[in-house]
Amino acid sequence: MTAGAVTPHRSPSTPERDSFWYLVHAEWTKFRTVRGWVIATGVTILAITALAFLFCDITAGCAVSSGASGTASAGACPPAPPAGPGGEPVQDAFYFLHQPLTGNGTITVQLTSLTGQIAIGPGSNGQPQMGSGLQPWSKAGIIIKENTSQGSAYAAMMATGSNGVRMQWDYVNDRPGLPGSVSASASRWLRLVRDGDTITGYDSADGTHWTPVDTVTLPGLTDPKQAGTVQAGLFTAAPSNGNAATTTGVFQHIGLSWPATRWTATNVGGTGQNGVGQPGTFSQSGGVFSVTGGSGDIAPLTGGAGVISIQRALLGTFFGLIPLVVVAAMFITGEYRRGLIRVSLTAAPRRGRLLAAKAAVIAAVGFVAGAVAAALAVAVGTPVLPRTGIPVWPVSLLTEARMVVGTGALLALAGVLALAIAIIVRRSAPAITTAIVVIFIPYLLTVGVGPQGGGNGRGGGGDWLLQATPVAAMAVQQALPRYYQVAAPYVVVGGYYPLAPWAGLAVECAWAAAALALAFFLLRRRDA
């Protein structure tokens, strides 16, 4: 036991080197040995999962007709909207002047006029007062479609109210052609060429010089039962978000590569719940066709138009985040309160490394809690969600993976942000209060002002909060795609965020990084 009097004491157990991972290991040991913190993390996971069930199980007050005996009080749900070839709920309601095309063929038209009527105010007898005008995505053009059933495959060339010539196909796809609007002096020539399941769209300003817009292959265009016959012809649609509207297109120089038959007029979808607002009409004079279609569109449904997604299962995230934020703050304020920070700093005198180790542990805990909670929430929500009776948007596995991983990152960054705030203010109550203000108040505000958001999804009252505050990270949970070719209220309550998923996460990351930098500066400068 007693060493020689002149030999300096030597530690036999001294490790040869130090390592950042020793500190991470130490901070992890600190975390897992306080039972309350582990329990609070479990509460985070449980809360998000339980709220997923709650939010997905909210019934729409109607009974889904599935053969089972529904509750007596609930009325029958409105008919489900059609699904496009990709399985997504779509709107497929337009006026279609068509004839069958068997085998390959080409249709060419010259569009000389695109006009419309829209509701401009309340009229009399329950009918709105109409005035001339076009919506940005009012459309008229030519289309080749599998058949006249809603949701069938198609490709179309069209002129639009203010987005120039477009080629669109299978509801969710859009490609721009010639810019500018249509008039007698600036007519637009449109052409579709069918070759089996492949359709190529062309446009031209003069009928002589043609530009291909895109070539697309439409699986299912050729149904064997129809012996390769599809419907081809003229169409108009007036997207109006449920308001009364019409779109009129004037066509001439209609060229068909096959022996022409009689034109058939069809209001695709009829005039029911998912059909057109009012029946279309057409007149023919010489070779000039004037085609007027009622309100309707050929487009995917959006969150603003009554579609929900599995994102609903993650609505509890911000409430589940509360215990995690409290734990992240107390992970360091508990040390300040009891002087334990001095023990930590004698064990890890290089303060940046201590801070990094603490942040790494909180980030790892937050990530695992968030990802596990999100995975459970999606698993719980998926079978429950159809019970709402609201059309469910199909979400790819890749998108679900992004939502799960992104929720993990969202919680990890929120934990780091709360930790950094706690180091800056050093006391539990102000730290937790500040973290709540920075994270939760913007969340509540955005949910509150969401419905007043602008019709195009921009400029709503809560938009800047969703772009500039940590709640921007919620964008990573967005499951519904935003379609610029569909005018709809892209607002928070519909499931849309102004930033792209990873951009939203980057905003939260910037907050966490800035707070961490300030925490590092103060931790280094202060006496402990």
Binding site: P8, S11, S13, T14, D18, A26, R338, V343, P349, A528
Partner: protein, 306 residues
């Protein structure tokens, strides 16, 4: 590593208070160095500067030539206990030691060793929030010993210990020094250091008043005086004074005699037939020596605050 703490010219001001004012001393291995001074003299501040917790306004504190903040796995070089209450109350004592061990790359086996070394096996797995102050001190000592460091720094380690604990602590500190470690122990009570410290650094008002071995300090305070115990103090005083001695009465038959050797005192008393029960060299207590040294700084403080 050279297990020497070197404090050189530390200055530290907290607002209006000059906490450290040129603090300079050296702590060497192989003995317990008592670091003593009145409350507020700068003991804790000095220790915090040594451990890199507080930054001095001027001066340096090094361990084996290196500032604390540059040490790799510092707990393997310096063990310290500043505040036994620095604990997460809901964490067990063993888990407290476990995270400290992990922070230095030490294994859990070392944790059980220091638990046994400090005699806290029975409490180790209970929540530290329920520990008595004495048990917290033992846990703090165990934490300081984790890395088996050659340098140990304890701030007021006797606080809250029962008499049995104080005896244990004194033995323990002596044994650590006997293993050729440098041991710096602060206290505001000299009695706690008596019999333990071989060297003393006495401070007041942020600077060193005395930096000396215990033997030298007591000799200086004792002077060349003799203690005499007699049943006839008045006769003895008369006889010794006439022989040229300075005599002061301490009451109840005890006199303190200066300027005469003990042989001369015995001869004079015998020739006058004065009976006595004791003639011995006067020995000041460490407490008296300390009071003498710090009187000035304490008085200064009393005036300054009144």
């Amino acid at each position: 590593m050279d297990a020497t703490i070197k404090i050189d010219g530390l200055q530290k001001r907290f607002g209006e208070t000059q906490a450290l004012d040129g603090m300079t001393f050296t702590v060497r291995p192989g003995q317990v160095t008592g670091f003593i001074g009145p409350n507020g003299a700068g003991k804790s501040t000095t220790m915090r500067v040594i451990l890199g917790l507080d930054a001095p306004d001027a001066g340096t504190a090094t361990i084996g030539g290196y500032p604390y903040r540059s040490l790799r796995n510092p707990l393997c070089h310096v063990g310290s206990l500043l505040d036994a209450g620095a604990l997460q109350p809901s964490r067990s004592g063993r888990n407290h030691l476990l995270w400290l061990a992990h922070s230095q790359g030490l294994k859990a086996g070392r944790v059980d060793e220091v638990i046994a070394l400090t005699g806290m096996q029975s409490a180790a797995r209970r929540k530290a929030g329920g520990y008595s102050l004495g048990m917290r001190q033992r846990l703090g000592i165990a934490a300081a010993l984790l890395g088996d460091p050659p340098v140990l720094i304890f701030d007021e380690p006797y606080n809250g210990m029962d008499p049995e604990g104080i005896v244990w602590m004194k033995d323990f500190l002596r044994s650590l020094a006997a293993q050729n470690r440098a041991v710096l122990v602060s206290s505001h009570l000299m009695g706690e250091l008596e019999g333990t410290a071989g060297h003393l650094v006495v401070i007041g008002r942020g600077r060193v008043i005395a930096d000396t071995s215990v033997a030298d300090l007591i000799a200086a305070a004792s002077g060349n005086r003799i203690t005499l115990r007699t049943t006839a103090p008045a006769d003895a005083m008369t006889a010794l004074t006439s022989a040229g001695a300075e005599v002061t009465a301490n009451g109840s038959g005890v006199l303190t005699v200066s300027n005469l050797s003990s042989e001369r005192v015995v001869a004079i008393l015998t020739s006058h037939a004065i009976s006595f029960s004791e003639v011995s060299p006067h020995r000041a207590t460490l407490e008296q020596a300390y009071m003498e040294l710090t009187r000035e700084s304490v008085e200064y403080r009393g005036e300054a605050t009144s």
